[in-house]
């Protein structure tokens, strides 16, 4: 492990149950791990392995059934839904496979949206949103709506949105799943650069080995448990 500094994410014996018709489905069966600030982690596993459930918990979109989760030293399982929302807004950026941009809004307004929920004034958030779009190389396209942009461009807008509130950690769920290999490479290079140059912690969920190879640590899930947690020696790029 190349990571240094204090643990940003501390997970102990995390369990998550889902009630089903046939009884209780145990999506997570006791996961314990730490992620330190500045790490670039790839989470792998087949569908149903529990990796998505784990991501939802780490992303503060859901609460564990048992076990504890501390994010920046805060016990997440004790927070109210409003406090979780504030935490997501401030500390966490999401990048999704399907981009999840609001199709009626321009790129600029999409990027400014988390800043609105952070309570920032209209002019200030437009300035900051524009700065973020410049950073992902889409400064010229700020007034286009998502449908007027290519898939790669849409994903860069989504990354700009994830970065807008300057979070400490970004969760990317299959971020290249809808992109061709060339665009995928560009997006992953950008992620690597963010991690290397700005120290933003990255947690990437993927089932593609070559995408996971960009990370410096690989965690593999199977049947709700961690079956592999290794450092990757050299980036594929």
């Amino acid at each position: 492990m190349t990571s240094t500094g204090k643990p940003l994410i501390e997970v102990v014996n995390l369990e998550k149950d889902y009630p089903t018709g046939a009884g209780v489905f145990q999506a997570l069966r006791g996961v314990s791990l730490n992620i330190t600030e500045g790490e670039f982690v790839a989470i792998m596993g087949a569908s149903g392995s529990g990796k998505s459930t784990f991501m939802n918990l780490l992303g503060c979109l859901d609460r564990p059934t048992r076990g504890s989760y501390h994010l920046s030293g805060q016990d997440v399982s004790r927070l109210s839904s409003d406090e979780l929302a504030a935490l997501r807004n401030r500390e966490i950026g999401f990048v999704f496979q399907g981009f999840n941009l609001l199709s009626k809004l321009t790129a600029l307004d999409n990027v400014a949206l988390p800043l609105m929920y952070a309570g920032m004034g209209r002019e200030a958030r437009r300035r900051q949103a524009q700065a973020m779009l410049d950073r992902v190389g889409l400064g010229e396209r700020s007034h286009h709506t998502p449908l007027q942009l290519s898939g790669g461009q849409q994903q860069r807008v989504a990354i700009a949105r994830a970065l807008a509130t300057r979070p400490r950690i970004i969760f990317a769920d299959e971020p290249t799943g809808n992109l061709d290999s060339e665009t995928s490479r560009q997006v992953m290079d950008f992620f690597s650069q963010l991690n290397r140059e700005e120290g933003i912690t990255l947690v990437l969920v993927t089932h593609e080995a070559d995408i996971a190879a960009y990370a410096r640590r690989r965690i593999r899930f199977q049947d709700g448990r961690v079956v592999e947690d290794v450092a990757i020696e050299e980036a594929a790029a």
């Binding site: 992303g59 979109l61 859901d62 929302a85 504030a86 997501r88 999840n100 988390p114 929920y117 309570g119």
Partner: protein, 407 residues
Amino acid sequence: MIFASLFETAWNALTTHRMRSFLTMLGMMIGVAAVILMLAIGQGAQMMVRDSIKSMGSNLFIIMSGATTTGGARVAGGMAPTLTFDDADAIRELDDIVAAAPVSPGTVQLIYGGVNWNTSVFGTTPDYAVVRDWPMESGGFFSEADVRSGARVVVIGAVVARELFGDEDPIGKIIRIRQAPFEVIGVMAAKGQSLDGRDQDDTVIVPISSAQQKIFSSSLRNRARMIMAQAVTEKRMDAAESAINELLRSRHRIGVAQEDDFTVRNLTAIAETAASTTRIMSLLLGAIAAISLVVGGIGIMNIMLVSVTERTREIGIRMAIGARRRDVLWQFLIEALTLSLIGCAIGLALGIGGAWMVESLAGLPIEVTPASVLLAVGVSFLIGVFFGFYPARRAAGLDPIEALRSQ
């Protein structure tokens, strides 16, 4: 959370589906327009009733010849009037009465030069101008002496003056009433329509003695079909009414068990009844219109529920990037409020415009009061909150993971 941004968000959402937003607002628009229009018509009707009763004269009693039955006054045609001039004089002497005039009504044809005109005629005394609160436009009213001597003088209403004389000055001119020449000595000021829709200015007034001798050729001297009397104040109306009843019963020697041969009508009481009837009517119209407002509100709720379902994914995205439940709640509540208040604004414009149209086209008096506008705006606001809350709460209660997964 900044509310200006929420209004912008609401506006964007509503303009995305223009047709749908318009149709949703249509319910509110029609409801508000109906409420405004109905209340305006009701107010106008009340005003018209009050004005026309006031134009009859204030604190007025009309005492009719004939008994009262449940159906109203029974005055058989051709039957002799039971009231006398002396009755009128005696009523005038009562403490609470200012003036009393015997009145013999009829209809006649007037001729002046080559022009003729059918109108109503009242034979009466100078007190008539007092009880009716009726000022002169020009000239003067006839005197007690004219009544005593049976002078052939006539005072004419504004409509008669216009129809017979046009631009000419009627004072001093001779008109023929049933062939008898009468000199015009005065023109009454215009009074307008009475409660029963008759034009009060389409009339001529002559001394009651002259009317009976020359116009009605009646053999019933000193008798009148009715007496009009005015009480000193509105408060003394009830006392005056009983005094008149008592006086006439004793003068006409009516025993305890016997039926009155006259009927006293209290115009103020009738006015109040008429005004309260029109008020109830206008309230009823307003209530029916209010139902359409509620239906409009249900339309808003329906569309907001559809909208929440359609935008589940959007709600999930907003939650993932940091929207709190109350942010989502406010977003949809403000959307519903925007719909209802814009609908209300357009409805107000339609209602006031409609009221103005009714007034100018149908000639009905219309009164749009600030209170009815406030009522419509307030009710629209409440409807927006009430019917917007449930869909908004449903949106705010969504699970972010489920919402993100939806298509």
